[in-house]
């Protein structure tokens, strides 16, 4: 028994395409290609959407933060207005008493007093006796001349 090898020549094989495509494939392909090449305009819209979507999500915490900041600033303003109003309610006499008890006079304060010494000031504004004021002025003069 001989084992003969069958010699098949390429030209003996009928030339045919054995592959198949789904029905209507070549009818729909141009449309699908056109959809893809026309996409760049819609790609811009897609970019806008992809940019806007996370921004929209970030809007909620941003709005909360903004609201907090506005409330904080308004609160600060009303606090300082409250302090001014409180201070306005304190009488002159209490302020002068407070200052004479706790405040430390500095040479600059006395210099200011000196600068207005020529002016006629109402006695109740200074609320000091003429002799005390003279003593203070004399002291300021000695202090500024370094004697």
């Amino acid at each position: 028994m001989t084992n003969k090898k069958q010699h098949i020549r390429l030209e003996d094989i009928p030339k045919r395409n054995i592959y198949e495509v789904p029905e209507g494939y070549f009818d729909s392909l141009p449309m699908r290609v056109m959809d893809r090449v026309a996409a760049p305009e819609s790609a811009a819209a897609a970019w806008y959407t992809s940019f806007w979507r996370p921004l929209r999500l970030a809007m909620a915490p941003l709005a909360l933060l903004l609201a907090f900041a506005v409330v904080y600033v308004l609160n600060m303003q009303s606090d300082s207005e409250k302090h001014i109003a409180n201070l306005a309610a304190v009488g002159d006499k209490e302020i002068v008493d407070y200052l004479s008890t706790y405040a430390v006079l500095e040479s600059s304060d006395l210099a200011e007093v000196h600068s207005i010494s020529g002016q006629v000031l109402p006695a109740d504004f200074l609320n000091v006796s003429a002799s005390s004021a003279e003593e203070e002025l004399e002291y300021a003069r000695l202090d500024t001349t370094g004697l």
């Binding site: 069958q6 054995i18 392909l29």
Partner: protein
Amino acid sequence: MEDKELLEKFANPDSRNLAFNQLVRKYQQKVYWHIRKMVIGHDDADDLTQEVFVKVWKNLENFRQDAQLYTWIYRIATNECLSFLSSKKRKFFLPLNDVAAELAEKIDSTPGIDGDEVQLKLQKALLRLPEKQRLVFNMKYYDELKYEEISEILGTSVGALKASYHLAVKKIEEFLKQD
């Protein structure tokens, strides 16, 4: 419609889409079958065909008319095939033989393939060839392109193409002899 007329219409923004649609209709089958014989599966061939025409759309304005339009499109399709096959090898760390085995397996398992035993064997024999030799064989044997046209597509000399085709036929016949 002649290629020259298609290109003129494509250059005009008002008729660009229409001209391109006609271009796709004219060349879609050649491009698809050229790719399908290389990648075997329909889905891959479909993706690559669309990709080829997207590239044609993007580059058609720069197309120099000293080359023929269809050889230029064939070249794009060929490059897409080769990139696809090498990315497949890179992705799965496969040597050439394993890609061929995978494609041969596809021939047996894909429903859209209909051929007798000899035809299937021929296709499997083709998969044994190096990719560029398979391209040369497909373009000469199935697409019946002239060597000069294949030379323009692949950028290889006519002499080298003739030698490559001759060698491919010998290898195929040798494979067909085996049981």
